[in-house]
C-alpha cells in the first residue's frame, strides 16, 4: 500500500512531526495532570462514602468496593437542590445579560475611538484587576451598606456584574475592533439608517464576540461562592456556596463532588449549545 502524501511531505516531514510533538507535549501533560486527573478523581469521589472527619471513607471495605449512587439519589430526591441550581442559573443569566447590555456600548465606543486612545481605554477596563478581587467585593459592602441593599439578591447581582464586566468587554472589543468600517459605509450608501446598520451589520458580525463574552461571564458566575457569601443573604445561596459548604462545613466530600459533577455536566451541555449557536457563520470576523 502506498503512503498518502502528508501536508509537510518531503524530507522535513519527520522533523516537523517531532517538533509538533515536542511543542504540544508540555501543555498536554499539564492538562492531563492538573485538569483531567482531578476531574476524574472528583467523579470517582462522587460515588464514594464520606470519611468520618472529612475526606473519603476507604474504597475497599471487607474486600468489596465501597461505592454507591446515594449522593445522586439524595440530590434528585430533594427539590431544594434543584431550586438552588435553578436560582444559580437565573443569577448567571441575569448577570450575563446585564454585562452584555453594559459592555456592548462601551466596547463599541472603544473600538470606534482613535487608535491611540483605544489602548488607554482598554487599560482602564482591566485596571480593576490590579487590586485584589476580595478587597473589591468588600468595597461593595461599604458602597451598598448605606442604601440598605446589602444581603439582597440585587447586591449579589451587582457584585457579579461588577467583577465580570471586563470579561464581557474584552472579547466584544476584540471582535468589534476588527470590523471593516467600509461595510457600514456600504450599508449607509445602500440606504440603511443608523439603527438598521447596527441591526443588520454590526450586531450579526459581533455574534462570536457576544458568545465568547457570555461564556466567560456565565460559567464563572455559576460557580462563584465568594460574592454571594459576602454580599448575599442566607436565603440567596448559590451552587458555589452549596459545594463549598459540603467540603468545608459538612465534610461530605461525596455530595460536594456530586454537586460539582452535575454543575460541570450542566455547564458542558450549555457550552455545547452555545458553541453550536455561536459557531462563527462563514465569513464572520
Amino acid at each position: 500500500m502506498t503512503e498518502r502524501p502528508s501536508a509537510g511531505a518531503g524530507r522535513s516531514g519527520g522533523g516537523e512531526r517531532l517538533t509538533r510533538w515536542l511543542v504540544s507535549l508540555p501543555p498536554t501533560l499539564f492538562l492531563l495532570l492538573f485538569f483531567l486527573a482531578p476531574a476524574l478523581l472528583m467523579l470517582a469521589a462522587s460515588f464514594r462514602q464520606p470519611g468520618d472527619f472529612g475526606g473519603l471513607a476507604p474504597l475497599l471495605v471487607d474486600g468489596r468496593l465501597n461505592l454507591s449512587l446515594e449522593t445522586y439519589r439524595f440530590f434528585f430526591g430533594d427539590w431544594i437542590y434543584a431550586e438552588i441550581f435553578l436560582r444559580s442559573f437565573l443569577v448567571a443569566a441575569a448577570t450575563t445579560l446585564i454585562c452584555l447590555l453594559l459592555a456592548y456600548p462601551l466596547a463599541l465606543l472603544i473600538a470606534r475611538s482613535e487608535r491611540r486612545r483605544r489602548d488607554v481605554l482598554v487599560l482602564l477596563v482591566i485596571l480593576p484587576f490590579a487590586s485584589n478581587f476580595l478587597i473589591r467585593v468588600y468595597a461593595w459592602i461599604i458602597v451598598l451598606g448605606p442604601f440598605d441593599l446589602l444581603y439582597t439578591p440585587l447586591a449579589v447581582i451587582a457584585g457579579m456584574v461588577y467583577v465580570h464586566l471586563p470579561f464581557m468587554i474584552l472579547p466584544l472589543y476584540t471582535n468589534l475592533e476588527k470590523h471593516d468600517p467600509a461595510l457600514l459605509e456600504a450599508a449607509q450608501d445602500l440606504g440603511a439608517g443608523g439603527w438598521t446598520r447596527f441591526r443588520r451589520i454590526t450586531l450579526p458580525l459581533s455574534m462570536p464576540g457576544i458568545w465568547s463574552g457570555s461564556a466567560l461571564v456565565f460559567i464563572p458566575v455559576l460557580g462563584m461562592f465568594a460574592i454571594p457569601e459576602l454580599l448575599g443573604g442566607t436565603r440567596d445561596i448559590l451552587v458555589g456556596n452549596l459545594i463549598k459548604e459540603q467540603f468545608l462545613d459538612n465534610r461530605d466530600w461525596p455530595l460536594g463532588s456530586t454537586l460539582s459533577m452535575l454543575l460541570t455536566a450542566a455547564v458542558l451541555a450549555l457550552a455545547a449549545i452555545a458553541v453550536r449557536a455561536g459557531r462563527p457563520r462563514r465569513g464572520t470576523a
Partner: protein, 361 residues
C-alpha cells in the same frame, strides 16, 4: 439639464486643498471618468457625491436639486467600493437584496429582481454562496449588482478594477462597458489607470492637485492634450522644445534649436516668437532607413540609442542631432523582423505636419 452639476466644488483638509474649485456637468446615461494620479482629489469628489464628505465650498446638484444636507442613505446614488465591502455574513443573494430591503420593496418583487440582477452579472449559480467563497472577479460583479439593483440615478465606482489581476481587469473592462450600456445608468468612475479610462469612458476629466486639467472624450484627451500634465499623464509622449517662427495659412513654422524648421498644423491662439513644446506620440513617428524615400514634411536624422521589445511593438529611443531623444514605436507585423534596427544605426525620424500638438509654456 445635466444629471449631475458640480459647481465650484472645494474641499480642504487643513491647509491642503484636496479639491480646488471643480466644476463639471455629467449627463444622464454617461460613462464618466475622473482620472488622475493618487492624491489628486478624485476620490474626495466621489465621497462628496455619495455624501460621506461635505464640501467646504460650491455645490452639487442632482437633477437640479442641491444635495447639501442630504444623508448618504437618502441619496439616489450608490457606490461600488474599491474593497467591494460585501457583507461577509450574507450570501450573494442577500447582499444583492440589501438595497431593495432598505427601500422597503415587497418580498416577491425582491426575489424576482435579485434573480434578474444575478442573471445580468452571470452569478445565478452563486446566489447561495458567501463572499469569501468567490473569486475576485465574482466579488466585483456582486458589488456591481448590489449597486445597480435599486436603479440609482448615479453609480459611483471607486477604482473597482484595482484589486484584480491584469487578465481579469481586461475582461471586467469589457463587462463594465456592456453592463453600463445595458442598464443605462450613469456611471462615475474613478481611476488612476489611464488605459482603463481611455477604454471604457464616454468622457474623461483629467485631474491634478485638486483641479481639473482637461475634460473631453478619450480621443480628444489623448490626441489633443491641453497641457504638459495631460500630455504626460496619458500614454507616452515626446516633448520637443520649439519656438514659433511664423504663422501661416493652415500651418505653423516652428524651429527647434539645433534641428531646424518644423511644420505643424495650425493652432489657435499662437503668436510668433512664443516658446513651447511640440508633443508627439511615439506611434506618430516613422523610422526609416537613411536612403528610404518618403513624403514626410518633417524628417530628421538620428541614431538609435536602445530598443525595448514588448511583443506587439518594439520601442526605439532615437537621439536626434540636437541631443533630444525621441521614442518611436514600430509594430511587429512580421515575426523575425522585430529587431530590424540595432543600437548605433542611423535612421530618419519622420512625421506628417498634422501629427503632434503644440503646447505653450
Amino acid at each position: 439639464m445635466a444629471l449631475l452639476e458640480i459647481r465650484n466644488l472645494t474641499r480642504c483638509f487643513g491647509d491642503f486643498k484636496a479639491v480646488d474649485d471643480v466644476s463639471l456637468s455629467i449627463e444622464a446615461g454617461e460613462f464618466f471618468t475622473l482620472l488622475g494620479p493618487s492624491g489628486c482629489g478624485k476620490t474626495t469628489i466621489l465621497r462628496m457625491i455619495a455624501g460621506f464628505d461635505e464640501p467646504d465650498g460650491g455645490e452639487l446638484l442632482l437633477d437640479g436639486r442641491s444635495l447639501a444636507g442630504i444623508a448618504p442613505e437618502k441619496r439616489p446614488v450608490h457606490t461600488v467600493f474599491q474593497s467591494y465591502a460585501l457583507f461577509p455574513h450574507m450570501t450573494v443573494a442577500q447582499n444583492i437584496a440589501f438595497p431593495l430591503q432598505m427601500a422597503g420593496t415587497e418580498h416577491a418583487e425582491i426575489t424576482a429582481r435579485v434573480r434578474q440582477t444575478l442573471d445580468l452579472v452571470h452569478l445565478v449559480d452563486k446566489a447561495r454562496q458567501f463572499p469569501h467563497e468567490l473569486s475576485g472577479g465574482q466579488k466585483q460583479r456582486v458589488a456591481l449588482a448590489r449597486g445597480l439593483i435599486n436603479k440609482p440615478r448615479l453609480l459611483l465606482l471607486d477604482e473597482p478594477l484595482g484589486a484584480l489581476d491584469a487578465k481579469l481587469r481586461e475582461q471586467m473592462k469589457d463587462e463594465l462597458i456592456a453592463l453600463q450600456r445595458e442598464v443605462g445608468i450613469t456611471f462615475v468612475f474613478v481611476t488612476h489607470a489611464q488605459q482603463e479610462a481611455l477604454a471604457i469612458s464616454h468622457r474623461i476629466a483629467v485631474m491634478n492637485e485638486g483641479r481639473i486639467e482637461q475634460v473631453g472624450a478619450p480621443e480628444q484627451i489623448y490626441g489633443y492634450p491641453k497641457n504638459r500634465f495631460v500630455a504626460d499623464f496619458i500614454g507616452t509622449i515626446n516633448l520637443l522644445p520649439v519656438a514659433v517662427d511664423s504663422v501661416g495659412e493652415g500651418a505653423l513654422r516652428l524651429s527647434a534649436a539645433g534641428l531646424g524648421a518644423i511644420t505643424c498644423a495650425a493652432a489657435s491662439g499662437v503668436g510668433v516668437g512664443e516658446h513651447g513644446v511640440l508633443a508627439l506620440r511615439p506611434e506618430q513617428l516613422a523610422l526609416l532607413a537613411g536612403n528610404e524615400r518618403h513624403g514626410f514634411d518633417n524628417h530628421f536624422v538620428g541614431t538609435v540609442r536602445d530598443q525595448l521589445y514588448l511583443g506587439d511593438v518594439t520601442v526605439y529611443r532615437v537621439a536626434l542631432d540636437n541631443g533630444v531623444v525621441l521614442e518611436a514605436l514600430l509594430a511587429n507585423c512580421l515575426p523575425g523582423r522585430a529587431r530590424s534596427l540595432a543600437p548605433g544605426d542611423v535612421v530618419v525620424v519622420g512625421w506628417p505636419r498634422d501629427a503632434g500638438v503644440l503646447l505653450h509654456d
